[in-house]
Structure formats: C-alpha cells, structure tokens
C-alpha cells in the first residue's frame, strides 16, 4: 500500500473506518472538527453510520447505546467536550463496554484556547469521571501512530471490554506526514454474546451499571480491578532511544515527545549523554521499565505542555531513586528543543532548582 500525505486527524479517521467502525457520534469543537467532517463524508459510504449529536453529552450516551448493542463505535472531542462526557465514560467503563474516545487536547482550564496542550493527562489517566475505573490511554507521537494506534484502540477495546482513549493534541491533529494504512485490525469479528441485539432464542442481555447491594458490588469491583491488573501486565507500550548510557533521560509523549527527541539529538551532538523515554500507553503507564532505568546518578526530565501532570507518574515510578525535573510550557505554548536543551544544561551543570 502506498504512503500518502495526510493530516493527523484524517489519518486517525481513515484508520478507524478501516478497522470496521460502525458508528461515529460527535459534536463540533476546535481543534478536532476534521474528524466529524471526515466521518460525515466517508463513513456512510463505507457501511457505517454518522450522526452529529446535539451535544457531547448526547454523543457519549449514543456511544454507550451502540457499544452495548455490540457495534464498533467512536466519538471525538477536545478538552471541554471531554469534560462533558465524563459521566458517560464512567458508565461505559462500569458496564465494561468497548469504544474509542478521541481527545484532541487544547489548552485549559475553562474555555481556554484552541492551541495544543497536554493538560488533560490527569483527567484521562486518573479518572475524570466518578468511581474506580481506568481507561486504556494511547498517545500517538506522529501521523503514522495516529493511524496505527487507532487500529490498536479498537482491538484493545474489544479484547478487554473497556473504553480506550486516544490522547492527541492540536499539532498532531493538524500536521501532515506520510502514512501507510495496514490491513484491518485483528479482532473485528470478535463475538459479543453479551450485547443487546434482541433476545432471539436466548435469555435477555442486560447492559447495566447500577450495583446497589454493597457486598455484590464489591465483588464486581474486584473483578473489574483484576481486569485492570491484567491490562497493566500485558499492554504497556513505550519507545526508548539512547537510554542505556544516559545521564539524563527525557520523558515526554505526543508532541512533547517529538520536541524531546530533537533536544536529545542536539544534546548528543554536544557530547551530552541524553536519552529519550516516550510512553505510548499513558495507562497502563510503563512504570516497570522506568523503574528499571532509575539510578541514583541519573536524572529524569519530564517535558510537558501542562503544569506538570505526567511528571507525577514518573516520580511514582522512579520512587525517589533519581531526581525528576520539569521542562514545560503552558497556555498553548509549545516547548522548543532549545528550551529543553537549556534545562538539560542546568541539570548537567548542577544549576537546576
């Protein structure tokens, strides 16, 4: 298959359709409007359903319904719209339904701006909605990953009966890079005997999240947590470059990962031993590997477009063995490799605070 030049948001959308997307329910918000536009244009012509919902709240509840009925279904939005979806996401996680939710992050809080940011990490990874649940969170770092991780998202969602979030940002969504589409995902034909398809010759199926008897609810929660333990054991993904001999390891995902990569290469050209650790799954966070990389004479530098959210998970993983610092920008500003390189110099020259 040929490589074609495509915008990130459109590559994501194309990959979703090839993965057998049956329905897309969404609502306009900048900077993800290319996704509903692509879906409106293409999905109905390729066997799927497109519907613009009346709000992000309605859209996530449409996703719940379609997912419960056994269909591959997706929604996308950006930060304020993802906030609106939190109740619905909690319900989808509680009912253990598969679906894909795309967040093309913009700067917040509040209405904020439409520039890229990474301020929704806590919301994505630590909960966002109420109750004890987890989303599988994937962080693409280039347009090819916008496609590949979307295919993976549908497979993981079906495999684990869990919502999967693709945490992107405005730069990745808008940028154009060459992309090649793989064959369709592996789990498209997965049987879903639990789905509400009409009780023909069987007992009725019930998709429900109400769990009102406490001891039974506790047992159900324990089963859910056991599922999350299995996901943590099997699905953590990351990329590392130059970490073996590194004195400083940069940790960054998405656009920050790209900036960190450039900073790493600039530092190496100056003779500094700098490596890159790029998480690809933000949940499960690749903590085991980070733990292995932690040494007392090594320093970690988190690179984020936020006040510092992922850095807390780096600190947890590293567990006091190495110092951890932050290089960040806010308000929609994007860190430059020079910003990060300056911070590396502070660390290496013992001037860091």
């Amino acid at each position: 298959m040929a490589r074609i030049l495509m915008k990130g948001n459109e590559a994501l959308s194309e990959a979703a359709i090839r993965a057998g997307l049956k329905a897309f329910y969404g609502y306009p918000i900048t900077p993800q409007n290319e996704i509903p536009a692509y879906m409106a244009e293409h999905l109905p012509l390729r066997g799927g359903v497109y519907l613009q919902a009346e709000s992000e709240v309605a859209a996530i509840n449409m996703v719940y319904g379609a997912a419960g009925a056994g269909a591959r279904v997706m929604t996308s939005s950006s930060s304020p719209g993802i906030s609106l979806k939190q109740e619905g996401i909690s319900y989808i996680a509680a009912a253990q339904l598969p679906c894909v939710i795309v967040n093309v992050v913009r700067n917040g809080p509040g209405l904020g701006g439409i520039q890229p940011a990474q301020g929704d990490y806590f919301q994505a990874v630590k909960g966002g909605g109420h109750g004890d649940y987890r989303l599988i969170v994937l962080a693409p770092g280039n347009v090819q990953e916008m496609a590949d991780l979307t295919t993976l998202a549908f497979d993981l969602a079906d495999k684990w009966r869990n919502p999967v979030m693709i945490l992107s940002d405005g730069i990745l969504g808008q940028m154009m890079e060459p992309v090649e589409f793989s064959e369709n995902g592996t789990l498209q034909q997965l049987e879903k005997p639990w789905a509400t398809t009409g009780a023909v010759g069987r007992k009725p199926n019930i998709v429900n999240t109400l769990d009102i008897i406490a001891d039974k609810a506790e047992k159900n929660m324990q089963a859910l947590l056991a599922k999350y333990d299995s996901i943590k054991a099997e699905e953590a993904r990351w990329q590392e470059v130059g970490t073996e001999d590194a004195d400083v390891i940069l940790v960054g995902y998405g656009t920050s990962g790209r900036v960190a990569r450039s900073a790493m290469e600039m530092a190496r050209r100056q003779g500094l031993k700098v490596g890159l650790f790029r998480p690809i799954t933000l949940w499960p966070f690749p903590e085991k590997r980070l733990q292995e990389l932690a040494k007392s004479e090594r320093t970690f530098l988190a690179v984020e477009m936020s006040a510092g959210q992922m850095i807390e998970d780096v600190r947890l993983a590293v567990n006091g063995v190495s110092p951890v610092y932050l290089s960040n920008r806010l308000g929609g500003m994007v860190p430059t490799p020079e910003d990060v390189l300056a911070k590396i110099h502070e660390i290496v020259e013992g001037r860091v605070s």
Binding site: A23, G65, G88, G198, P204
Partner: protein
C-alpha cells in the same frame, strides 16, 4: 373456563418494587402487553432510565440497557442507528425526560428517531422522595416547593406533548391517563400504536401517561387516581397531538 387475562410474557417473574398502587406497574404491563401482541419480544431492546423505574431492566423480559439520567433517548438513538431492525423503546419519568433530559428528547423527536418513548408523568420526583418536577402543577406542594409551586419563583409546568408537537419530526404524540380502567385500556391501545409506528418506520412516537405517586402526594392509591382526573387532566389535556397516519376527515 378460558383464561382471558394473565401476566404477559414480556414481563419477568421478578416482583416489582413500586409502592402499592403505583401506576408504573400498570404501565409496565401495558408495554409488555403491546410487545406480546405484536410478537416483538425477541426484537425489542428497552432503555431504562433513572427514577423509580430504574429497575425496569429486571421487569421487562427483553434485552435492556440502563441509561444515565435523562440520556435514554440518546442511548436509544445510538442503539437504533446500528440496529435499525430491532424495536427500541425508552421508559422515562418526568424528571428524566423533561428536566435533565430535555435536550435529548427534543432532539430525538426533531430527528424523528424511529423509537418509541413511554413518558410517565406524575408531576413529582418519586425515587428521590418527592421533589418538584418540571411537570409539578402550580400550587402543588412538594419537598422543594413546600409552600406550593409559584410561577414567580419556579416558573410554569411544561406540557411535553404540546412542546414536541411544534416539531416536524414526531410521527405520533399522544397523552393518555391511568385514572380509571377505561383510560388504562385506552392507554394500552395508544402504547401499542406507538410500537406499531416503529414497526412501520413512521418515525418518533411518544406516549405521555398521566400517572400517580400516592406516597409523595400523601394520599391513598384510590384517591391519587382521582387527583389525576381532577387536577392533572385539566392542565394536561388528553388526546392525540400528532399522528402522521391519521387520514383527513377521520
């Protein structure tokens, strides 16, 4: 002797938890009777809402989904769009449909979503112990209108059939009552028609059923039926507000 009345197949054997005399029980049975008589139990997918009827998924003997408060029309839309040959219905109270779910019901109606909505209007929030609802009448005392609802403070009760009838989308809108056996039988016929509308792919169908809440209204079940007749019917007139299958001159 032949059996001329028995529990419908579309109701499970689970004993319903509703208060004594609550019309939810009657309405559940009418829905189940409609499903049985149309032979659609195996095609049906119901969406339970949040309110006293939250456990409806235990009472209807068909596939069921439990929706967040107010969102049942969106959940039903999500299901129907991917499973257009199934019969999808929602069962909602007045808080669920006319308060938190107002956007969802208006837009599902505007889209003429091919679903069937059973709207149980008893002018109060039952499950949460008797707060004011969008359909609570002026002067009616509730837990959050203890001196009686006033228009100045709390606005006017909302007439859903009339409101939705302003839209092009709906195919069938009707308001019925449960305050005596004649009206219960009429309600049963309206509910059956609302399901037939979906079978015939006519579009959005809603039946608003005037209902009681004897416990939170503070009266016996028999008196509660009279209260519906004397107080609710005058404000919420019974009748057909939209019917795309009605022929001219009928």
């Amino acid at each position: 002797m032949q059996t001329v009345f028995q529990k419908p197949e579309a109701l499970t054997d689970v004993q319903m938890h509703y208060c004594p005399g609550c019309t939810h029980g009657i309405i559940h049975r009418l829905v189940a009777e409609a499903i049985d008589s149309l032979g659609i139990r195996e095609q049906a997918i119901g969406v339970a809402s949040v309110g006293c009827s939250v456990f409806a998924y235990d009472y209807f003997n068909c596939d069921m989904q439990q929706a967040a408060h107010g969102r049942a029309p969106a959940v039903a839309t999500g299901i129907k769009r991917v499973r257009p040959d199934n019969i999808v219905f929602t069962y909602q109270g007045d808080g669920d449909l006319a308060s938190i779910g107002m956007a969802e019901i208006v837009h599902a109606a505007a889209r003429s979503e091919n679903i069937t909505v059973i709207f149980v209007n008893n002018a109060i929030y039952g499950m949460t112990s008797g707060q004011m609802a969008p359909t609570t009448l002026l002067g009616q005392k509730t837990a959050t209108s203890p001196r009686g609802r006033t228009a100045e403070e709390m606005g006017y009760p909302i007439k859903m059939c009339e409101l939705l009838a302003t839209l092009e989308g709906p195919a069938y809108l009707t308001r019925v009552s449960t305050h005596d056996s004649r009206h219960v039988l009429q309600a049963g016929r309206a509910i059956k028609k609302a399901f037939e509308m979906q079978q015939q792919k006519k579009g959005f169908a809603l039946v608003e059923v005037l209902s009681t809440c004897s416990v939170n209204w503070g009266m016996t079940p028999v008196d509660a039926l009279k209260w519906v007749e004397q107080n609710m019917v005058p404000y919420y007139p019974l009748g057909v507000y939209k019917d795309v299958t009605a022929k001219e001159g009928n």
